[in-house]
């Protein structure tokens, strides 16, 4: 029986050795260029079919232009899990050829070498047209690794019906009066809650206490003169300006009780809050809203209007089997014509589109005046959210400390000091 066991063990080893190359073949095959249609996989975090159709039409036009046949598949990954799943896929044989990149993780992706340089391909499509400020995040040592297809300022969307019920001026009225600032924002939020019982404000996508904490706090902090950190390595999250700004938001949640609190799933777009902060891509959620609504720029602080921009880039996978065609596709998708067609969803970084009359009428749900007030005027002056090559680590570790802020008797200064300590571990 012993010899039989030995034989079986040997047979298993042989099978195992035979199976390993078959398993590894996936990545081996991926290097081979095959004839016939080219398979291109594009990873995004949108699952909106209209938006995917628009991107699909760019691929079709590009294929016709290049005289090639392309089988494009779009993979929609949820925003919260985007980096996790994308980075996993990039290590396997099913990696996307073209993918969106979050602004906060742009430095890490560029540093890792996963993004292919694009300057050669972009040269065909008037690269000087891109706003240098908008391109900063996506370049390293003068080389472009991704193109910002969206340079989208944050602005306030409000439920006009709730403002009417509360008998208070809308944010648009306050903008017209020149009185739209964080104090009047706070007063409006409280007045809505007191008069109607409905929450006055919901944080951006409801994630202001966790996944989108900096999206929520940065607009307030920066307009008070603070910041999370600066590009030259200064940590300002615990500066007196930042503390004052965060204290304002904390008081709105725990003193006024007017903000949708942590853990509550009330949603502005379902009519359960008076105001929220969003970007143009979220406006489509209002197409079937059963309440009157309007938009306004972010409130001003002691430093005046300090717009904050959320960016998203598109890049080509440097080790993909179709890297050359993927690079050309990225360049094509961000040419003037494509950018102009995307402008109503994802505001552009190209001057030619930004300065055109068509841009202001590109979002059918917003008037030209609203588009100019909330979006157009902020793109060139706004600043992107903080980013860093170690952002994933910073985000995960600081989240645990930020959590201390979300109770009524939190010491805001002490919490921000602790957050600053976490930042200091990574930012020099």
């Amino acid at each position: 029986m012993k010899s039989s066991l030995k034989r079986v063990f040997c047979a298993l080893l042989v099978i195992f050795v035979a199976v390993l190359p078959v398993m590894a073949q996936g990545s081996g095959e991926s290097q081979q260029q095959t004839s016939g249609p080219i398979d291109i996989k594009i990873a995004t975090w949108t699952s909106n079919q209209d938006q995917l159709d628009l991107l699909g039409s760019f691929v079709d036009e590009f294929a016709a232009k290049e005289g090639v046949e392309i089988n494009a598949t779009f993979e929609s990954i949820t925003f919260d899990e985007y980096n996790t799943l994308l980075s996993l896929e990039l290590q396997g044989s099913e990696a996307p050829d073209v993918f969106w990149v979050l602004e906060t993780s742009a430095p890490a992706f560029i540093e890792s070498g996963l993004l292919a340089p694009l300057d050669e391909e972009l040269a065909e499509y008037n690269p000087d047209d891109f706003s240098p400020k908008a391109m900063e995040l996506w370049q390293k040592d003068g080389v472009t690794y991704a193109v910002p297809f969206s340079t989208s300022p944050f602005f306030v969307i409000y439920n006009a019906d709730l403002f009417a019920q509360a008998g208070i001026p809308t944010p648009a009225d306050l903008v017209a009066e020149g009185n739209w600032n964080w104090d009047t924002f706070r007063q409006s939020s409280k007045a809505i809650k007191d008069a109607t019982g409905v929450w006055g404000f919901q944080t951006v996508d409801g994630g202001g206490y966790d996944a989108r904490i900096l999206h929520n706090l940065c607009p307030i902090i920066r307009s008070y003169g603070g910041d999370a950190w600066t590009n030259d390595g200064q940590i300002l999250i615990n500066s007196s300006e930042s503390v004052e700004a965060v204290q304002l938001f904390h008081d709105m949640v725990y003193v006024d009780g007017s903000v949708v609190p942590p853990g509550d799933q009330s949603n502005f777009f379902a009519g359960a809050a008076g105001m929220t902060v969003a970007q143009v891509s979220r406006v489509s959620n209002l197409a079937e809203a059963d309440f009157a609504w309007g938009v306004a720029p972010m409130p001003a602080g002691p430093m005046g209007d300090v717009p904050v921009i959320g960016q998203a880039g598109i890049g080509a996978y440097s080790r993909g089997k179709n890297v050359d065609i993927a690079k050309k596709l990225v360049a094509y998708m961000t040419n003037e014509e494509c950018v102009a067609r995307m402008a109503g969803i994802w505001p552009p970084a190209r001057y030619s589109v930004l300065e055109s009359d068509d841009f202001l009428s590109s979002q059918p749900l917003l008037t030209a005046e609203q588009m100019d007030m909330a979006v157009g005027s902020s793109i060139e002056t706004g600043r992107v959210l903080p980013s860093h090559v170690m952002y994933p680590q910073i985000e995960v570790e600081s989240r645990i400390v930020w959590d201390r802020l979300w109770n009524a008797d939190a010491d805001v200064k002490a919490v921000l000091d602790a957050v600053a300590q976490v930042y200091a571990n990574y930012i020099n």
Binding site: L12, F109, P392, I400
Partner: protein, 299 residues
């Protein structure tokens, strides 16, 4: 001199090995190789974005020793297990005894208890996240308000968050353990119980002196499975608390996930996995040896 096997015996043995071959191949490729790779990775500076940055010796293990968050997650895992395991065992045994007694309404209770087992873990966690909302938005707090109780913000307050995930997890897996215990309860030797009754044993005495010892093999088996399950909890934490607030529900497996897939530190995540493997291995060995000592009636 080794005994010679007949052709028939060799054929039978070969047939047997052929039957287990698919399972063996699956085990080799999906369990053994990854397990070995985890040990290898734990000695490397490996990043999901940047790839393998070389052999790093014991650096990851040194980092582990000075990582406060690791010890917090270890403590959280123990608290979670200490909450889930006894609660699950006591409740499932009590329910099994009740259901085994064929009392009224047992069929309905049996169905209700088993329903969560066949429900998707993801759906279960999402529903409970909704139920455990803070303020009066959550149905649980809304009901508590009828009794004049102001419920906490369950998933966003330290302490309450851990309790919430423990309760959610216990209710999800209760049915399976009830089923195992019911099988054991129904197979209790009636003659022994009858002898006990004739000798004048009352119900508590009957339970503690006869039923409990007879059920010990099943109890220990269920305990091993529940302990290992509680050490591996992921979906409930991921969907309900994301490890918060302040890392108070960050358990070991979720910390491994965070290190590997949120901060991309595959090498360090592998090191924590090795520690988790050793903990589970030690616990299993202890419980198996307990099973041998405590199971008087096991063959």
């Amino acid at each position: 001199m080794p005994r010679k096997y007949s052709k028939l015996e060799r054929g039978e043995a070969l047939t047997g090995y052929l039957f287990i071959l698919p399972q063996m191949i699956g085990f080799l490729i999906l369990v053994l190789v990854p397990l070995i790779m985890i040990f290898v990775y734990s000695f490397e500076s490996r990043n999901l974005l940047f790839g393998n940055m070389g052999f790093s010796g014991l650096d990851n293990y040194q980092k582990l020793v000075s990582d406060d968050l690791f010890f917090t997650t270890l403590k959280n895992t123990i608290v979670f297990s200490l909450g889930v395991v006894p609660l699950n065992l006591v409740l499932s045994l009590a329910l099994a005894l009740y259901l085994g007694a064929n009392a009224s309404g047992t069929k309905i209770v049996r169905s209700v208890i088993f329903l969560p087992v066949i429900t998707s873990g993801v759906a279960w966690a999402i529903v409970f996240k909704y139920l455990f909302q803070g303020g009066t938005a959550g149905p649980i707090n809304y009901m508590l308000s009828f009794f004049g109780i102001e419920g906490p913000n369950w998933l966003h307050e330290k302490g309450w968050a851990m309790l919430s995930v423990i309760l959610t997890r216990v209710l999800k897996n209760l049915g399976m353990n009830v089923l195992i215990f019911m099988g054991a309860v129904m197979n209790l030797p009636q003659d022994v119980l009858e002898a006990g009754r004739i000798d004048g044993a009352n119900k508590p005495l009957l339970f503690f002196k006869i039923k409990l010892p007879l059920l010990m093999p099943s109890i220990l088996m269920v305990m091993i499975v529940t302990v290992i399950g509680s050490m591996r909890v992921f979906d409930t934490i991921k969907l309900m608390t994301d490890g918060g607030p302040e890392g108070s529900t960050m358990v070991l497996v979720y910390y491994i996930y965070h290190q590997a897939f949120k901060t991309f530190n595959i090498g360090y995540a592998a090191t924590i996995s090795v520690v988790l493997f050793i903990i589970v291995l030690i616990l299993t060995i202890i419980q198996w040896s307990l099973r041998r000592r405590a199971s008087f009636y096991e063959d």
